[in-house]
Symmetry: C2
Subunit: 212 residues, 2 copies
DNA sequence: TCGGATTGACTAATCGATCAGTCAGGATAC
DNA sequence: GTATCCTGACTGATCGATTAGTCAATCCGA
């Protein structure tokens, strides 16, 4: 069996899921072009041809990896919005940003491996922007409308820019490069501390666009 | 000559510079792993072997591309800080962020091609974090100290996190994906408008960490 | 026995890197 | 003055390795 490395996966997982898990880790670490189909197959403990059987091309495998996590994250975000509607008191801006950020930072959102994939497509070229538009624009507009409801003084453009820059801080946090901690001379931040940091920064940043 | 595409470069430029220019464009568009030495050579109109003659390996070529722009950007930032010291009135937080952001967004800072390189290394893995540390940590600490001077109520950690998240908004803006404009239903923002957007957001975000 | 799942072996193309060798021009020797 | 040597810049050809993708054969549960 030589030096084959297998990713940990629950015993009931199908080979298809195993491949997706392995691909997610490698794409996150090495990027799309830097990851070979052979390496994914080896990490998943299956033949390379099986990747093409299940996903046809490398592009489609990558898209499937993204869509799997996207579905989880956006579903959780919509749940959070629905929970706000069910309450009698409207959410604060911080509440709203928490609802936006937390599902992406949570471990069921794919954790660090997927985080770096998301970060790369968020700043990518034309191909990646297509993925962003298809997977995230709809939910973005939902949150932008919610921002406008909470801060009626903001124009649509102000709310949209505020949202976009808030996402920028989220992407930076998700990548978990450790640079902020290094500069702050702190130990690596926990999920909760990280979440609190970016919620406070982004909420104040959005309020920088107009009166509360 | 077939379909060789040459990048525009001033006539006095050496082949070495021509290669760096071509590499910067392609690395920015396709990433490190996605860019081949052959493609760079073809874009620069030189033999592939010349790339290895001047830069030895692909890794060293990439490092040289980064360091060239880094030197320009950080020099301009230090100039801006020195200009503040020469004035009789201390800079505002917005002034400081302007001094930090403007050199990176300006066209002599490498423009969009280098911007995307910077964005990818900013969220990259271990190898890329080494580049960030070597090229940007020193100047980061200078600006963090300046933030603490302007906002004495902030702790070092608060200032460092504020700086890191401010850089996150800069990186997002530099990548120029057009998503913020798409969500805002606006035309593509000019450099000045973009700069104003991120300065206001980041300044307010930093003030979210403590009283003014 | 049937059909989806899976495999090893394979191909053409492309990868980064290396090679021996060409060429122009400045220094050196006589 | 001129023949010789040396060096930095540069090239075409090619290396072995790796790439994504293909295909016929095989496995195995229903």
């Amino acid at each position: 069996m030589s030096t084959t490395v297998q990713t940990v996966s629950d015993p009931a997982a199908t080979n298809r899921d195993t491949i997706l898990d392995a691909a997610e880790v490698l794409f996150g670490e090495l990027g799309f072009a830097g990851t070979s189909m052979r390496a994914i197959a080896q990490a998943g403990g299956v033949a390379q041809a099986l990747l093409h059987y299940h996903f046809d091309t490398k592009d489609q495998l990558f898209d499937t990896v993204v869509k799997r996590r996207t579905a989880q994250i956006n579903a959780a975000r919509l749940d959070n919005l629905a929970a706000f509607d069910a309450r009698d008191t409207p959410p604060t801006l911080s509440d709203l940003l928490h609802a936006l950020f937390a599902p992406a930072l949570a471990h069921q959102g794919g954790g660090v491996p997927y985080a770096r994939i998301l970060a790369t497509i968020a700043i990518g070229g034309a191909r990646e922007q297509g993925l962003v538009r298809d997977n995230y624009d709809a939910i973005a507009l939902r949150f932008i409308e919610a921002i406008k409801t909470i801060r009626p003084a903001l124009s649509h453009a102000d709310a949209a820019w505020g949202y976009s820059l808030a996402i920028a801080t989220l992407v930076s946090a998700m990548a978990r490069t450790g640079r902020a901690e290094r500069l702050a001379r702190e130990d690596e931040a926990s999920d909760d501390i990280l979440l609190d940091r970016i919620v406070r920064f982004a909420a104040a940043g959005i309020d920088g666009y107009g009166p509360k």
